[in-house]
């Protein structure tokens, strides 16, 4: 008991010292709007950092995410499959409303991926939203149908290609006479859809990757554990 209390106090004191030495608003932006408009052209400053200034960082983030998902689908094979009956919710509200809501969710996800450089959003949010919409579908559809779509789309193999696409894009930076991971040389007008150079392209690659990963996790957990 004493050991527990001492370890809790020691661990939280690390965080406590850090909290007392910082203030709200200590870290204001060192990036001025002029710099971001000149270099990148996106209206969303976070998007211009994630997709242009620190794309190398984002690339390794996507790589770690992909490896974690490969680990999930590899180690899940060692578990026995769920043999019980399907636990489909028989409530008419859920059965009618979920297919309608799913279409709206897909539209919202595409919109967020498309305008990630103009307003809040981006590839990660879009992928997670689309993957979450599939949880609702798995409430009302039988497991066989979902398994059929999952196997037929071969998404488990295609999602491994996303980091490769980002590498190819990074090497393409040499083509337009810059360094690796350089942006397209067309920044466009701030606030328009085609601003920010390659923002839309990379947002869609990352969105696809996160969506495929979320769907793989969901499918594997339902297949080996059941819905509830």
């Amino acid at each position: 008991m004493i050991k527990t209390i001492i370890s809790i106090i020691l661990l939280s004191s690390i965080f406590f010292i850090f909290i007392f030495n910082v203030n709200i608003g200590d870290a204001t932006s060192t990036f001025t709007p002029e710099l971001i408009i000149r270099e990148n052209g996106s209206q969303n400053m976070v998007s211009s950092i994630v997709l242009d200034f620190r794309l190398f960082d984002t690339f390794f983030e996507v790589l770690v995410f992909t490896i974690a998902i490969i680990g999930v689908s590899f180690y899940m094979e060692k578990l026995p499959e769920y043999k019980g009956k399907d636990t489909i919710l028989r409530s008419p509200v859920i059965q009618i409303m979920t297919p309608i809501l799913f279409q709206i969710i897909v539209l919202i996800s595409l919109y967020i991926a498309l305008t990630g450089h103009i307003g809040p959003g981006g590839g990660f949010a879009a992928g997670v939203i689309l993957g979450t919409g599939l949880i609702g579908v798995s409430f009302v559809k039988p497991m066989d149908e979902i398994e059929n779509i999952f196997k037929r789309s071969k998404i488990e193999k295609f999602k491994i290609l996303s980091p490769l696409l980002i590498i190819i894009y990074g090497i393409l930076g040499l083509v337009w006479g810059d360094t690796y991971f350089a942006n397209f040389p067309l920044t466009g007008e701030v606030g328009s859809l085609l601003s920010g150079g390659s923002a839309v392209l990379i947002n869609f690659i990352i969105g696809f990757e996160v969506f495929a990963g979320t769907w793989t996790i969901l499918y594997k957990f339902i297949k080996h554990r059941g819905l509830l």
Binding site: I8, D26, S29, P33
Partner: protein, 109 residues
Amino acid sequence: MNLYQILSFLVFIIGVFGVINQKDMILKLLNLGTIQSGVVLLFIAISYNGHSPIITPGIESYSDPLIHSFLLTVIVIGFANLSLMLVFVMILSSKIKTYQIDEIEKKIK
């Protein structure tokens, strides 16, 4: 000292207490997520400046977009790693038939 700093410290303490005190392995992992929430809340509060980092005419100082982009990384990787850790716990429990950490230690010895 701000309200957000106190709250993030409270969330952090709840997470640390859960990780150390809980005997169930799944609850330990979920408490790791709670610690992550506390850290994310603190960093959001530090970088807060009154304006979100979206370029608007007439505003010169923004919240720090660098910290926001780091937190994006933290959330996505935390989500993927939590699911990977849950798979490991499921494999362990399918062999030892329990989630309680005391019984697992007894059976391994």
